[in-house]
Amino acid sequence: MKAIDVLRFASGSLYGSRSRTLLMILAMSIGVAAVVVLTGLGEGARRYVINQFSSLGTNLVIVFPGRTETAGVGPGMLLGQIPRELSLDDAQALLRSPAVSRLAPLTIGSSQISQGALNREVVVLGSTSELLSIRHMDMAQGQFLPSGGIHDSTSVCVLGSKIQHELFGTQNPIGAWVRLGDRRFRVTGVMSSQGESMGFNTDEIVIVPIASAHMLFNTSGVYRILVEAKNRSTILAAKRDVEDIIVKRHKGERDVTVITQDAVLATFDRILSALTMAVGGIAAISLSVAGVLIMNVMLIAVSQRVKEIGLLKALGAPSKQVRNLFFAEAALLSTIGCVVGLLLGEAGVLVIAKLYPSLPVGAPWWAVLAAIVTSLGTGILFSVWPARQASRLDPVTALAGR
């Protein structure tokens, strides 16, 4: 019997019992589609988080005062003491490391902003001109902070797009004066709208030179230093240098925490990958349930088609051939189920992508491959037994339908 005839015979018997075939394909394809959609969602979440992180900048090393690793509660904490501050000079000293290309110190506070009769509360961010390129931010109009020295306290400010809209409406704000606290600042530029990024809405902040912010809030501390390494391979060197320089400047005390964006990213990556694999695994269980279903239905098919099997044997089909026919039927069933499931799954992913455009959904290749292998594997594995049952039937009893 030729392979093509085996296939034709198998597809003929699948077509012969259409409702059974459709139900089986449905079960199989739902399993496959579940794997594709669920892992697609998991992968989407992972990519979303990674995108969010890389929108913060690339090759970043973030320095902040205090050591979170220090175990226990020290006496200083109980007395409400804060760790030694980071100063602007600390920040500037970090540029001595050959691994560091540029940096932006940050200080943060809140203040009243007023323009004419309008006023509201805003978050004021003090930084330097490097912030724009390190954080990958864009200007909607005008200029960012002037690239003067770190200690220059020019009275200029850059508005977030929402602040600009609320204070100026459709008016051109460039060159206008606003009042922040008890100081006046000239608006030099407006940030383009970027929405929220890692819990920080740049649309509702005002950025001023860090020295001006220190005067405004009467402080001298630096809240964060964003350090950009020269490239990916020097991130670790930059981190080491930063720690060494600060320790030297702080009289041998390691009182800062330095984290790399990569480390944070890798952690999230691991967590979300594990999550994706977990949901994929759950979906794969539903796939093997579909496999058991195929076995069940094939066994029923064997008992329903006892006479046909007896006839095939009487007409000169050896046991092996009967087995192959049933095997081919199950294989065909799971292949069709698998293909339909993949199409369904991809369609589902497309629908989700349409509904949530910000979520970059897409099933990873390994999940698609796993779905294909599992569905074909279970389909074929679980049809071995029914096919053997069929081939072992005694033709005399089978023909008698007993």
Binding site: M1, L315, G316, P318, K320, Q321
Partner: protein, 223 residues
């Protein structure tokens, strides 16, 4: 052609051994027309199944064309069934989802005959048995006589030397039954060995060789 030597066939029913065939010695020449008659349970069908290699004797030797077929394995026996033996059943045993033409084609497909030759042979058979206009009908769209003609066409599609018929008229009315018998007898004229199990003494009497069975034994052999 067919030679049985001291063939026994017994079954285990519960813990009791029941003898279906006892000490059968039989010789059937090529081109013979044989009828096997006897009351139900006398072992007629068991003998026919044994001749058709669907069943194996418990002891004894069955030689077909000089070959001891009882010692063949499953694949070899299937090959013998495919090439030398045709079956006609009382209840036709057509595959319900296949058309008449495809039912006739089935043994050819199983034997691995190329499609072009299959098509040619099936067309010829449909014509020979007057089924050309029924080719695309499924069995449930055919009358009893037509179904049995499809079954006979299928049984002869591989040009077997031996045709085994188990009560071929059992499910048919008198007139159709007679037609089917004439059809089978026309095959004998074409040198096919026809062995037919029947209840009907009138039909049995038409055979050249008549075998009578009682309790698993051949009791009389005559012309």
């Amino acid at each position: 052609m067919i030679r049985l030597d001291k063939v026994f066939r017994s079954f285990m029913v519960g813990d009791q051994r029941v003898s279906a065939l006892s000490d059968i010695d039989l010789h059937i020449a090529a081109g013979d027309y044989v009828s096997i008659m006897g009351p139900s349970g006398s072992g007629k069908s068991t003998l026919l199944n044994l001749l058709g290699l669907l069943d194996r004797p418990s002891s004894g030797v069955y030689k077909l064309d000089g070959i001891d077929v009882t010692s063949l394995d499953d694949v070899q026996q299937a090959k013998v069934r495919s090439e030398k033996i045709g079956f006609v059943f009382q209840s036709f045993h057509l595959v319900p989802r296949l058309s008449a033409a495809m039912n006739i084609e089935l043994p050819l497909i199983l034997a691995g005959i190329p499609p072009a030759e299959r098509k040619q042979r099936v067309t010829q058979l449909l014509e020979d048995y007057g089924l050309t206009d029924r080719a695309d009908h499924r069995p449930d769209q055919l009358s009893g006589g037509q179904r049995q003609r499809v079954a006979i066409a299928r049984a002869t599609s591989m040009n077997p030397a031996v045709l085994l018929a188990d009560e071929p008229t059992g499910n048919l009315d008198q007139t159709t039954g007679k037609e089917v018998i004439h059809l089978l007898e026309s095959l004998v004229e074409r040198k096919v060995t026809l062995i037919m199990v029947t209840h009907d003494p009138d039909i049995g009497a038409r055979a050249h060789t008549q075998l009578h069975m009682v309790d698993g034994r051949l009791i009389d052999e005559g012309h």
